[in-house]
């Protein structure tokens, strides 16, 4: 079964639980774009959503830092403030991704029991289709150096596409992350929105493969360490042209919601 949908979404927790520092109107515009993702995801009738996200040192601390990982447990659960989330994991697809990624030379770790990071459940809070479907959490290390190279992420994305295309399920792929932001650093109030805009323009022209040539240092400098999740997705999408549903730069974060035809 071919891929049935592909999106990239932001996951900044201020979209879920808004402090007074955030522009409410901007937050609501991002919610509206995520509602459009939900509408399109529902129309695509996926059997499973495979989300590619970076762990915010929630599931994986310094006791083990996998470059790539797959959640193959029965359920994936996490909490943020008053919210509690628990999603069914699509075990057959999750297991196939682990087994076939290893056959393809990628060696992802797998887990059956780590707390789910908000990078997964913030997009799902707003965009899970109705009725909900199982998920497969796919992890790309973004915050604990040394992270996988963009080239490696892109190559894994190509392998994921081959795996998904051979599956019986209707699969949606969603990358969670970005764009420019620098949480916890002296650059928090000064994201690189020029980088984001140039990136989105190139993706709209179908030039996603160029992201594989970025370096880790360039991503760090641009506040785009999380772009690795997009680059993984772009590996699965070839030369598809991005449709930018929203780009909403806040005082600290370039919120981008993007769709691709599949």
């Amino acid at each position: 079964m071919p891929l049935v949908a592909a999106f990239a979404c932001p996951h900044t927790p201020q979209l879920l639980v808004r402090p007074p520092t955030e522009d409410r109107a901007l937050v609501l515009r991002v919610h509206a774009a995520l509602a459009e993702v939900k509408r399109r995801l529902t129309a695509a009738r996926p059997d499973v959503i495979a989300l590619i996200a970076g762990d915010h040192i929630e599931g994986f601390f310094l006791n083990a830092v996998p470059a790539l990982a797959v959640h193959v447990g029965a359920r994936a659960a996490g909490e943020f403030g008053r919210y509690r989330y628990a999603f069914d994991v699509h075990e057959p697809l999750a297991r196939a991704i682990v087994e076939q990624s290893i056959e393809a030379g990628f060696d992802p770790a797998y887990t059956q029991d780590v707390p789910l990071d908000y990078a997964f459940y913030v997009p799902l809070h707003f965009a899970m289709p109705s009725p909900p479907v199982p998920i497969v959490p796919l992890y790309v290390n973004v915050y604990l150096p040394p992270q996988p190279t963009p080239r490696r992420c892109h190559a894994w994305g190509r392998a994921l596409r081959a795996i998904v295309d051979a599956r019986p399920e209707r699969v949606a792929l969603v990358a969670s992350g970005g764009l420019s932001h620098f949480p916890g650093t002296e650059r928090y109030g000064a994201p690189d929105f020029d980088f984001d805009r140039a990136l989105l323009a190139s993706l709209a022209e179908g030039r996603g493969a160029e992201t594989a040539r970025l370096t880790g240092e360039e991503l760090d400098k641009a506040g785009n360490v999380e772009l690795r999740t997009w680059i993984t997705l772009l590996g699965a999408l070839g030369e598809a042209r991005a449709e930018v549903l929203a780009y909403e730069p806040s005082w600290h974060h370039g919120n981008a919601v993007v769709a691709w035809p599949v």
């Binding site: 310094l62 949480p183 760090d220």
Partner: protein, 91 residues
């Protein structure tokens, strides 16, 4: 510490990062810290310089000590969410 914003965490900073991880991700650890900050920091094996830097959440000093910037950031967010619940809008 480094030319990059997110650097390889030095092994010497493991107790500090373990403590920040607990504040971020463990509600019980946060409650203990709010009730008795000094005792909780000692329980996590933090030395005096680290405890002093944590007293004011002095980011530059903590990062110089090897704190992961993101852990610092989200530990503070989670503490603030619990200290000032009325200031947060849940969607």
């Amino acid at each position: 510490m480094s030319d990059v914003h997110y650097f390889f965490p030095p092994a010497a900073a493991y107790p500090l990062n373990r403590f920040l991880f607990a504040l971020k991700s463990d509600a019980a650890a946060r409650a203990r810290y709010v009730a008795d900050a000094q005792a909780t920091m000692r329980d996590y094996g933090l030395d005096e310089a680290t405890r002093a830097a944590l007293a004011g959440f002095d980011r530059d000093r903590l990062v110089a000590l090897g704190a992961h910037p993101y852990l610092l950031f989200m530990a503070q967010v989670r503490l603030t969410m619990e200290r000032e619940p009325a200031n947060f809008e849940y969607f």
